[in-house]
Amino acid sequence: MREITFQQAIRESMSQEMRENELVYLMGEDIGVYGGAFGVTNGMIGEFGKERIRDTPISEIGFTGAAVGSAITGMRPIVEIQFSDFLLVTIDQLVNQAAKMRYMFGGKGKVPMVLRTPNGSGLGFAAQHSQSLEAWLAHIPGLKVVQPSTPYDAKGLLKAAMDEDNTVVFFEHKMLYGMKGEVPEEAYSIPLGKADVKREGQDVTIIATSIMVQRSLEAAVQLESEGISCEVIDPRTLLPLDEETIIESVKKTGRAVVVHEAVKRGGFGGEIASVIQESEAFDYLDAPIQRLGGRFIPIPYNPELEKNSVPQVADIIEGVKATIYRS
């Protein structure tokens, strides 16, 4: 199969949808001629024009709110928030408005909107452009939260997100944009709320999100050579969360390591760990669940400091070994 990058997969998914559905349009800062801060919308303005590839003023709360207004009146906007840190500027529209309108209005109206946004560290953008805030949004009833980890998943999950009648926050890790992988040319959909077993194993279950899926797979290869067999599960969507796949895996292995880049304290890993221990998998646990996450610090600028602020492959290996009491 042909290989394309994560970034191309996202662009292709949007372009295919926009050809099919005239209600879909794209809105965001510098997404037109510039092609978006990370080049995701590169060239799209040529095909779809500036009405549907709509450059906005720098006013995140304004245009996100406009997207909500256009969604509830029948459009299917895709909003690009240049950095996921800027979600905090839009948060009223996401949390108080988009997520709640249908409920507040007694089941009338819907807000079919996709908010795409690059997240994560690794490129030296420091504290205000490198965060992973998915747990904030996964806390909000009414939203859906997606975190793809491969080009294939990115294309299929984005299609599902665009087909959703609810507001979806779609996190794209900056460090994954250049990752290549096999992606079918035709449009396809990966259902939200379905986890993917990225690698099968027997001894320990690693539940990892976004770029940590890739790091966990790397760790699993190294651990294999030491005789430790890891199962790597990518939930792909935090909200809804495929609890069943996680629970079944932990029942099999008896051990779980949860890895995300977001700050560990209050991170979504705590939720996953709780889901495991509240489930029937509890009786199969043969070690405390390990949580790995970013340190409790703002992301620093210096590349070495930055690297040390979030889990790396070696940390995952160590975390896995901790569950089997080896060092």
């Binding site: 209600l23 349009y25 009405e51 549907r52 906005t56 003023p57 006013s59 709360i61 304004g62 245009f63 996100t64 709110g65 406009a66 997207a67 909500v68 207004g69 256009s70 969604a71 509830i72 009146t73 029948g74 459009m75 906007p77 009223d92 529209q93 108080n96 408005q97 309108m101 249908r102 409920y103 507040m104 209005f105 007694g106 089941g107 009338k108 109206g109 819907k110 079919p112 009833p141 009414g142 859906k144 009648d165 609810n166």
Partner: protein, 325 residues
């Protein structure tokens, strides 16, 4: 007897008169029910502001849309939401317009083009921009009035929305009901400029100031803005000077203003009295018609209360419904 004022015929004028009275009676009724403990939470009454709500919305066609405010009962009634469903919602009943889940602050009725009252100031203006964008992109021809107060006019989202609407030339009317107070904050203390409408120039749109106690004047100014919007010429900012007779919410002792000030607005600038006098003066309304109209209002309110009180409470099973589409 003349049956017309300007280009408005008697039916339209009496309809406006009926709506203004219906709003006032509705508000007085729910205030009474609230104090009797029948209603829950809080509510924000718009008694005294009937001229702005009815005047502005009278300028719209049924397919046009509004976004409403937390002080939005009058706007809902003017946009012709069934007051039975409104009353039931305030009672928290299953038959309410939002099945008892939204209450006073989130009254919406998408079927009549009310995209929702909002508990967060400034949010509705952005929604209006989006709704107008839909209208423009799909060539639907409707316009959107977004209502907000003098308080919300200082929200960043309002400014962002005005800029967006202007730069995209969207069919939006930013309608500021300047009732002089944002909760307890006097507009004089919160805003350096005399008129909110002056801000229009900063976004490249026309700004108008209108006497909110004169329903026909409000309607006339709004009509001009609607016309401009429908022609694709973009948004307009209208500021209507008005006054809320009651406190911000039901727990407000109104320490921040004088009774002299209240008296002046109530005695001399009551939009209903002023409109009634004009209708009688112009021979559009006689005493018998007035009696009939007020009778109709009374009946409608009584019917709404009866409907609400007879309606079932929402089931606990409905609790988790409608979170997702």
């Amino acid at each position: 007897m003349s049956t017309q004022i300007g280009n408005l015929d008697q039916d339209k004028l009496l309809q406006i008169y009926y709506q203004m009275n219906l709003i006032r009676e509705f508000e007085m009724e729910i205030e009474k029910q609230f104090m009797r403990g029948k209603l829950y939470g809080t509510m924000h009454l718009c008694i005294g502001q009937e001229g702005t709500a009815v005047g502005a919305i009278a300028a719209l066609e049924p397919e046009d849309k509004i976004t409403s405010t937390h002080r939005g009962h009058g706007l809902s009634i003017a946009k012709e939401t069934d007051i039975n469903l409104m009353m039931a919602e305030l009672y928290g009943k299953a038959t309410g317009i939002s099945k008892g889940k939204g209450g006073s602050m989130h009254l919406a009725d998408l079927d009549v083009g009310n995209l929702g009252a909002n508990g967060i100031l400034g949010a509705g203006q952005a929604h209006a921009v989006g709704a107008a964008l839909t209208s423009k992109m799909r060539d639907l021809g409707y316009v959107v009035i977004t209502f907000f107060g003098d308080g919300a006019s200082n929200e960043g989202a309002v400014h962002e929305s005005m800029n967006l609407a202007a730069v995209w030339e969207l069919p939006v009317i930013f309608f500021c009901e300047n009732n002089q107070y944002g909760m307890s904050g006097s507009v004089k203390d919160m805003t350096k400029i005399e008129n909110i409408a002056d801000r229009a120039v900063a976004y490249g749109m026309p700004g108008h100031i209108v006497n909110g106690s004169d329903v026909l004047e409000v309607m006339k100014v709004t009509q001009q803005a609607v016309e401009r919007a429908r022609k694709g010429e973009g948004p307009t900012l209208i500021e209507a000077k008005t006054y809320r007779w009651k406190g911000h919410s039901k727990s407000d002792p109104k320490k921040y203003r004088t009774s002299d000030e209240e008296k002046e607005w109530i005695d001399e600038r009551d939009p209903i009295v002023l409109f009634r006098n004009k209708l009688i003066e112009d021979g559009v309304l006689n005493e018998e018609q007035e009696k009939k109209i007020l009778q109709k209002v009374k009946k409608a309110i009584e019917g709404a209360v009866e409907f609400a009180e007879d309606s079932p409470e929402p089931s606990i099973e409905s609790l988790e419904e409608d979170v997702y589409a």
